[in-house]
Symmetry: C2
Subunit: 231 residues, 2 copies
Amino acid sequence: MDEAPSGRKAGSAREPVHDRIYDRLKARLITGGFMPGRAVTLRGLAEELGVSLTPVRAALARLSAERALDTRASRRVSVPTMTPARFSELMTARQLLEPEAAARALPFITPEKLAEIRGYDIALEAAIERGDVESYMVNNHAFHFALYSAGSSSSVLLPLIEMLWMQFGPFMRVVYGRLGTTNLVDQHREALVALEARDEAALRAAISADIGDGMSLIGTGLLEETGAKRP
Amino acid sequence: MDEAPSGRKAGSAREPVHDRIYDRLKARLITGGFMPGRAVTLRGLAEELGVSLTPVRAALARLSAERALDTRASRRVSVPTMTPARFSELMTARQLLEPEAAARALPFITPEKLAEIRGYDIALEAAIERGDVESYMVNNHAFHFALYSAGSSSSVLLPLIEMLWMQFGPFMRVVYGRLGTTNLVDQHREALVALEARDEAALRAAISADIGDGMSLIGTGLLEETGAKRP
DNA sequence: TGGTCCAAATTGTGATTACAATCCGCGACA
DNA sequence: TGTCGCGGATTGTAATCACAATTTGGACCA
């Protein structure tokens, strides 16, 4: 695995390689770039990304700690599969944490931030019409996290919520892949209205409704036939 | 750093070294074995524990991912310090997640489990009387997690809650170290009663009250003078 | 035909080494 | 005397190597 003596030093010597690897894998997980159950090997990723085992190991260890990846008893890592119980817990945790994060961010929403958030919503609607699952997931994520991270607070809540999204990302991708985007409804309008009105209670309700809506889309029957397998 | 050719292979070849390191550090964090702000170095820990950098690095990466340790911009790792905002967020997250976890565990509480939990409470009261901060923290942790982990569920909630405990553990140790245990009140009685009665609402209320009580113990003035420093 | 067992390949773990960035303290200069 | 700058020491990062465990594939036997 010889290295041309050129490339390495390019842009920023600051950010460690394993952070870049981590960011790439995280984005792939949240937008559903990994199939549930798929095995992820150190050497496979290392070769694909052109680095040694060391930074890949660090990135996978981090994702595994965040429950985004599953380290089996054999020490091999794979993308977690979904079970009805796990899905229920994930959505319950979202219902508990995300309205709170939104409420805490509300005082810090500037008109610029609101415009940014609204932009994601527009792109999201376009993605639904286009039937573009990938774009839908990207913009849905952007919408929620632009909101939650608006406040200077949330050094605690935000990482917890991000963990949850990484966990259901791969599964939702499979679901949307089967259902298509036509069944999706944009539930973000009430949230935007509440943001404009600075109405905390309405904002909480809107976020909660959005989560509940996504949850009810997934019949337990659907759970059976998609990513749900034996852990 | 020579190694006697003997020791290595002994008991279980199963569990990787970095998991053992992780467990030890986690326990130390939850029971307050680390001072907030203290620097944690790879080589320091490696030498202290008699292993190479590799497993220590893996363990620290995991703890850092779980926000139990803080990786500064310089890539050096340290025990996080507390700020009023962070403490507030931590307790809010606890208030949201822990009553839910308790409620979900309630149907799975067997008489044996209840006896175990009651045992922790007894040990906890003894620790308060004795003024034994270490024992108090150990048994308080054991009490809550024996309860939350009773259900077969909580593969999602439990890790989130554990993350929160690791984050305030070092800080609480400092606080109790200053206040002593005499100010502590055992708030677990109502929880035990609710468990016996299988009263979900009462259980939620009891857990919530326990958390709120611990929170109110910490005046914001106290926050200033303990572990709170610049991040 | 079906099950078992062995060997090769795959994979994760841990130690070692080389290296770059940061930190710390001493000394020179204004 | 105070401040800036330089050089050694400390520390984290990434690559490489050796090794043990698991998995996998097929051959062999019942």
